[in-house]
Symmetry: C2
Subunit: 279 residues, 2 copies
């Protein structure tokens, strides 16, 4: 592309992140949403859903390591994991680094996201076809109702509380997730930006606090998300977000780009402006 072409994701018509476009690789529309893949100078290939950046080749590691290793390293022996959303496959890839994991269920509403990721984002989608992975193309709101006492970890790797993702941000849904956990089961969810999505961050945290006895937000950069910083929240019926198996934590550290044991502790430090917001 010889033109000077830029993509800008605008957030609330107030601010935006702009990326110089090398090539537009795919434009499509599924039953649920628009799906696009662009190749950018700064972050490589980018997956867009309804025009919003979901993941990029160069900065996806922040997000996928945070949503996977933080909950899984707290669990004594996660064998069965449910990923909700996550059609790009990045969370599957990280989850499968945990040797105890025997089965990963991906419950993704939109098969087209998986297909497009398989074709255009091989470094992210590389483990979708692993033999331990079961794919369910279904709305997680329905899927979770049938799953009682089933999973050691549920990871909510969803879009924002807009469009097809909206039902994943309700008290009823979180209560069903809680019921789907067995034993020391843990949950982690992406919970929006504490900088640019304060209303959503507060709402989600207040819902989670009604359902789970342990609710701990954690924070890390995602350079291509609005404000450059993001939150996830760790939830459980009692287990705290602390590394359970030190030797596995060291092993996972060797192939991680953001996570290490020091980072694991650091991401749970809650900035004062977030504390004030939650009061």
């Amino acid at each position: 592309m010889v033109l000077d072409v830029w993509f800008t994701e605008k957030h609330e018509d107030k601010q935006g992140i702009s990326l110089k476009v090398k090539e537009i690789l795919y434009n499509g529309e599924s039953e649920f949403q628009k799906i696009d893949i662009i190749d950018t100078e700064a972050y490589g290939r980018v997956l867009l859903l309804d025009g919003l950046v979901m993941t990029t080749e160069k900065d996806e590691f922040f997000y996928h390591e945070m949503i996977s290793h933080v909950p899984l390293l707290a669990h004594p022996c996660p064998e069965k994991v449910l990923i909700i959303g996550g059609g790009d496959g990045g969370t599957i890839r990280e989850v499968l680094k945990h040797p105890s994991v025997k089965e990963v269920t991906l419950c993704e509403i939109d098969k087209a996201v998986i297909d497009v990721s398989r074709e255009y984002l091989p470094s992210i989608a590389c483990c979708i076809d692993d033999s331990r992975v079961k794919i369910h193309i279904e709305d997680a709101v329905e899927h979770i109702k049938r799953k009682k006492n089933s999973f050691d970890a549920v990871l909510i790797d969803s879009t924002d509380p807009l469009g097809p993702g909206v039902g994943l941000f309700t008290e009823e849904f979180y209560a069903n997730v809680r019921e789907s956990l067995r034993g020391n089961g843990v949950m982690a969810a992406q919970t929006e930006s504490p900088v640019t999505c304060q209303k959503e961050f507060k709402l989600i945290n207040s819902l989670l606090n009604k359902v789970f006895s342990v609710v701990k937000p954690y924070f890390a950069p995602v350079p291509t998300y609005p404000g450059g910083n993001w939150s996830w929240t760790f939830c459980s019926k009692g287990l705290q977000p602390e590394i359970n198996n030190e030797s596995l934590a060291i092993e996972i550290e060797k192939t991680s780009k953001y996570y290490n044991r020091e980072i694991y502790k650091a991401v749970f430090a809650v900035p004062n402006y977030v504390k004030n917001m939650m009061d």
Copy 2:
């Protein structure tokens, strides 16, 4: 302004941060650089130097708390502080929260930055005229050569290694800063983004390591800087970046928006990609 007007700061012609503009309040040019003030929907008033975002009303607290409280809380009793650059006054405001501080010298090359900040950014520039503040309008490269064994803390609150700031990123300059410290003196400098300015980050850290025996980078969000995340580096001749006076640390926490004692420790966790970059 009824037009849909956006300002975009482009970084390396690859990515950018876009802000919707409510009003252009000031456009000027000093002997050293272009100076602009715009009012934005998302971050309030923004100071731009040569078209780059220096600080904004709404997210300045991340930067100013990090460059001030991290070094000052490590020092047993900082009385004399030198700020290099920092003409907007935000660092002065935070430094003066430390009751031991008797004298703050601001060495800013460009008087126009101070004047424009005084007029347009009162919440940031509010303490520039405090009786403990001495202002020197001078190139810090020259100023520091005359200051031996003078300061308890030197804070390098500079622009990027471009234009008037370029001399502040050399081994000779850092060696002179070291000579200007007395006793347990500490230094902190803004050291660019570990995400979007990796070349600069590495170069600065390698220079600092030639000069200081303790060199510890630390990391925090700045939503309006490229990549949304930034680094500073703590340096000393032996003192470690640890809170020295717990009761003062609690006091400072009460009026801080980002810093608290947990955050103080957390910001020093070095992500794996940064460790790999430094190898």
